[in-house]
Amino acid sequence: MKIKKITASPGKTRALAAELAGKLKGGEIISLAGPLGAGKTVFVQGLARGLGIPEKEVRSPSFVILNEYSGRLPLFHFDFYRLRTAAELASVPFRERLAQKGVVVMEWPERAAGLLPAGLIRVEIKVLDRARREIRIEKPAPAQKRRLSTAARKSGALKR
């Protein structure tokens, strides 16, 4: 399933993300792509709100790689900005968090290309102008979802 929406402000981007978060059941993995300053952390703030986490708590995890928040479901907020090679993913507790049935969201997923599990919810933010963003959300088909849980259990793709 593909959705394409244009938001006119950071507030609207948060609202769209909060709506997406409302439908999550746990175990989802969201990849969040977009250039520097596109509003990736803003999107995660919306996800947090939709999961009952104060959005104020959500800060950029660029420095620490992972921030964790607890709400209706736990939210694991990764930022791979500082990873230089995909192999470095082995050094962050990514596999462990995948197994925890929370919501995993990753900024800069392209830095871990080739090591990400199948069945991702792919979100891409495109900067149209100062205010507007084009947000594409691509959800996996149900069959892919089943593969995802198998992948998460085995985590085969993520072994060193």
Binding site: G37, K56, S60, Y81, R82, A90
Partner: protein, 318 residues
Amino acid sequence: MLVLGIESSCDETAVALVADGRRVLAAEVASQEEVHARYGGVVPELASRRHLESILPLYLLCLEKSGRAATAIDLVAATVRPGLSGSLLVGEAFGRALAAGLEKPFLGIDHLEAHLSASFPEGLPDFPALGLVVSGGHSSLFLVNAPDDFRLLGQTRDDAAGEVFDKIARVLDLPYPGGPPLERLALQARKPVRFPKPGVRNSLDFSFSGLKTAVIYYLQEHPEAGAADVAAGFQAAVAEGLINKLDYALGRFPVKSVLTGGGVLANRFLRARLEAWAQGRGLRLYVPGIERSLDNAVMVAVRAFYRQTPPPGSGRRR
């Protein structure tokens, strides 16, 4: 009281021996900047491995330089939060094991409180004080009522101050870490670009991502813009944003001094702006020397000392 301090929350592995929270007997730092420069940032796995390789030699070097025996250590302290989890673990595990071996107590220390304790060896400030920590991972404002009484007032809602320095430096094609080359570039500015002051209105929280976005838009919309003018304008906006927040805090908490810490204070422009501001407000400003502004273990040992020993006159002396 002889305290061994250990710091390993990010780039630097550091060990220090400090007597009575004042006399620095030894202070050793191994920086990973060179390693990380090659990768454009902190690489967590490399970081924790490097900490592991450096920590024992640094500890032995501290003992040798101080001329003290390990058995003279009264307390072992290590930074335990916040930071990269794998890196923090190296310092804490080493510290706990050492303390167990020496049969001495161990104290886990908050990195931000340690930064604000960095100037204590040169004399305690008049309290209450505001405390500002600005680094690659943190932008936090504290109310410090006493050497052992820290209250968090606000922090960044998105990017840390040092993080936007690194990100803007990357946008300007400057090498990592971005702070020093950006500062040098800004010196060549002829007409600094005016950017909006970053911050959250009517709040003690910081916000820097709006400024980051403003700089990126500006560069896209003005491809002819001089990089030095952008760098200088950006740097000035960060300084004004921080000063704005200090002023806002000052209105609510009439303090006598301002304590500072964190790697962003290595920026001379920011230091000068803060000094001028403090003078104008009649406040005493404490900016540790560059070595003690960056991550170090002296500040960890000092913080631990004041957690163990209330200062004279506090009525809590044992």
